[in-house]
C-alpha cells in the first residue's frame, strides 16, 4: 500500500454519489475513486493510490514512472493483480 501506480482512465461513472472509474494498468482494469480529480476525463493518466486517483499526469510521465516502479517493486502485487489476470 506504499505505492501510487499510474494508469489510464478508460471509463467514468457514478456509484453511491461518488465519481468512480475503471483504470487500465497495462491491460488489466481496476476500479478507482475519481472524486479527488474532478476534472479528469476518459483517456487521461492518473496516479492511483489505495484505490483513489490522487493526481493527474501526462502519458509520458505515466509511462516513465511505471518503468521506474517496475524496476524496484512488484506493481501487480500492489494492485492485487494475479498472474492469471496477466495471462502468464
Amino acid at each position: 500500500m506504499c505505492l501510487g501506480v499510474p494508469g489510464k482512465i478508460v471509463e467514468i461513472y457514478e456509484a453511491g454519489g461518488l465519481k468512480m472509474g475503471k483504470i487500465d494498468f497495462g491491460g488489466v482494469k481496476r476500479e478507482a475513486c475519481l472524486a479527488y480529480v474532478p476534472e479528469a476525463q476518459i483517456g487521461d493518466y492518473t496516479v492511483i493510490h489505495v484505490g483513489f486517483a490522487i493526481s493527474q499526469l501526462s502519458e509520458e510521465e505515466a509511462l516513465e514512472t511505471l518503468k521506474l516502479l517496475n524496476e524496484i517493486a512488484d506493481v501487480d502485487e500492489e494492485l492485487g493483480i494475479t498472474a492469471e489476470e496477466r495471462g502468464v
Partner: protein
Amino acid sequence: MKYVDEFRDAELVKKTVAEIHRTVTQPWTIMEICGGQTHAIMHFGIDQLLPPQIELVHGPGCPVCVTPLEQIDKALEIASRPDVIFTSYGDMLRVPGSHKDLFSIRAAGGDVRVVYSPLDAVKIAQQNPNKQVVFFAIGFETTAPANAMSVVQAKALD
C-alpha cells in the same frame, strides 16, 4: 525456500563485497527507504562489510514498518474478536506484533481480509450488517483523503 542458500553463499558475498570496495572511489551517502531494509542491514551486519566511504542513513520507513508495536497488538486483539471482520492492506498481514501476526489470527479462525482500498471495507460492511467491520487505516498523508472519503461514504450509507 528459494534464494536463501544463494544469499548465504559466503563466496558470493565475499566477491560482491570486494566488488563494492573496488567500485567505491568517493564518499557515498545512501538512505534506506524502508525499515525492512534497515532491519536486514543491521541483522546481517551488512553495514560492517561495506567500505567506510559508504554512509548509511536510516530513512523515514514506510507506514507499515513504522506502525508502533502497541498499535499492532491492539489491532490483533480487535481482529481476534468473533464479531469483527478485520480489514487492512496485504502488507500489514505479516507484520509481527508481540506474540503473533494477522496471518496467525486468520489461521486460528479470525475473519481477516485484505483490501486494496478503504472503500472495499465500506463494501464489506454493507454486505455484513451483523458484523463490526474494522479497517486498520495505516498510512501517511497520501492515504488520509482515501480514509476520510470512506468515513464520509460509510456515514452517507448508514
